[in-house]
């Protein structure tokens, strides 16, 4: 399935959480999301070594991405923090403008063509629902982006 080929249509598909970062809309599978917390709960580490949020006495690192999913350092809090967990039980918080659970009716999935795939394969599939376009990713890929900051 590639650009121009017939997309896959999902009716009553899986639930997602939609993260808005600038103009970019990211979909993460619902089962990767632990909670959505207010951005005001984010703290800065004392030595400016990053930001974190404490939930149930556990310290979880918080990461900021721009709308091109490039991590950057900031002291400004966005509105919400999406607390996520990958298959290895690694927990991270992703700062975003808005996060909400979403069930997309008649969602079409389109694979990106090869000319658009980056080395990290951060985004491989685009979801289209009611002419709204979303980028599907997962926590494992977002964590890889955090571990490789500043790359093109």
């Amino acid at each position: 399935m590639n650009a121009g080929a017939n997309p896959t249509t999902l009716n009553n598909g899986p639930d997602f959480v939609r993260l808005s970062i600038g103009k970019t809309r990211i979909l993460l599978h619902d089962d990767e999301i632990l909670s959505i917390e207010p951005g005001t709960n984010v703290k800065q580490t004392k030595k400016n070594a990053g930001r974190y949020i404490t939930i149930n006495s556990k310290v979880i690192p918080v990461y900021d991405f721009d709308e091109d999913l490039r991590p950057f350092s900031t002291t400004n809090n966005k509105s919400q923090i999406c607390i996520c967990q990958d298959n290895d039980k690694n927990k991270i918080g992703i700062s975003c403008d808005d996060a909400a659970k979403i069930t997309l009716a008649e969602m079409e999935l389109h694979e990106l063509p090869d000319c658009m795939l980056d080395a990290n394969l951060a985004i491989q599939v685009i979801a289209v629902s009611n002419n709204n376009i979303y980028c599907i990713s997962n926590i494992t890929k977002l964590l890889q982006l955090v571990k490789q900051p500043g790359e093109n």
Binding site: N2, A3, G4, A5, P7, K23, T24, I26, E67, D68, L69, R70, E108, H110, L112, P113, D114, C115, M116, L117, D118, A119, N120, A122, I123, I126, V128, N131, I133, C135, L145
Partner: protein, 167 residues
């Protein structure tokens, strides 16, 4: 390979002029078009758009050439200008569609075999993305794009040109 007196569309991307086959250009979109940024995609193919139920990549040839030549990329514009909807075959013979960002409407020209010429010197790696080149009386050398190579090659296969060019 050009046949005698065949027709080609001449496409303009900033200061870059290229050509594609008569039947490769399906549609021309003029004016505003909603492009959506795809994070982490190459700067020369950084947006997608919907066209007749298909999701198409938007390829900017001028930005591609500037980037591979290590020149500053032209600022990406999300509005105005023109978009050409192109049909191409992938490696498996399937028909797919892509968008090319254009700075002016395409012009159709009749091209004959005796117009074949060398690639222009504005980009030393034309042979990577073009099949051939013909001389246009008004423009000069116009490379004929290898559409499949543009849309089907992974970005990692695109190397920035250095002083030591591998042959």
């Amino acid at each position: 390979m050009l046949e005698p007196a065949c027709k080609s569309w001449i496409l303009s991307s900033g200061n870059i002029h290229v050509a594609i086959g008569e039947f490769e250009l399906l549609y021309i979109i003029a004016g505003w078009q909603r492009y959506i940024l795809v994070p982490r995609s190459p700067i020369w193919c950084h947006h997608v758009f919907l066209w007749q139920g298909h999701l198409l990549p938007l390829f900017d040839i001028e930005v591609y050439i500037n980037t591979t030549m290590d020149r500053p990329a032209a600022p990406l514009s999300n509005t105005g200008d023109f978009t050409g909807v192109i049909a191409y075959e992938n490696q498996h013979g399937q028909i797919h569609y892509g968008g090319l960002k254009l700075s002016s409407p395409p012009v159709i020209k009749v091209v004959s075999d005796d117009a074949i010429c060398d690639y222009p010197d504005n980009y030393p790696e034309w042979s990577r993305i073009a099949l051939s080149c013909f001389e246009d009386p008004g423009i000069g050398p116009v490379p004929i794009l290898d559409i499949q190579q543009l849309f089907c090659a992974r970005p990692q296969a695109v190397a920035t040109i250095t002083d030591n060019t591998d042959i």
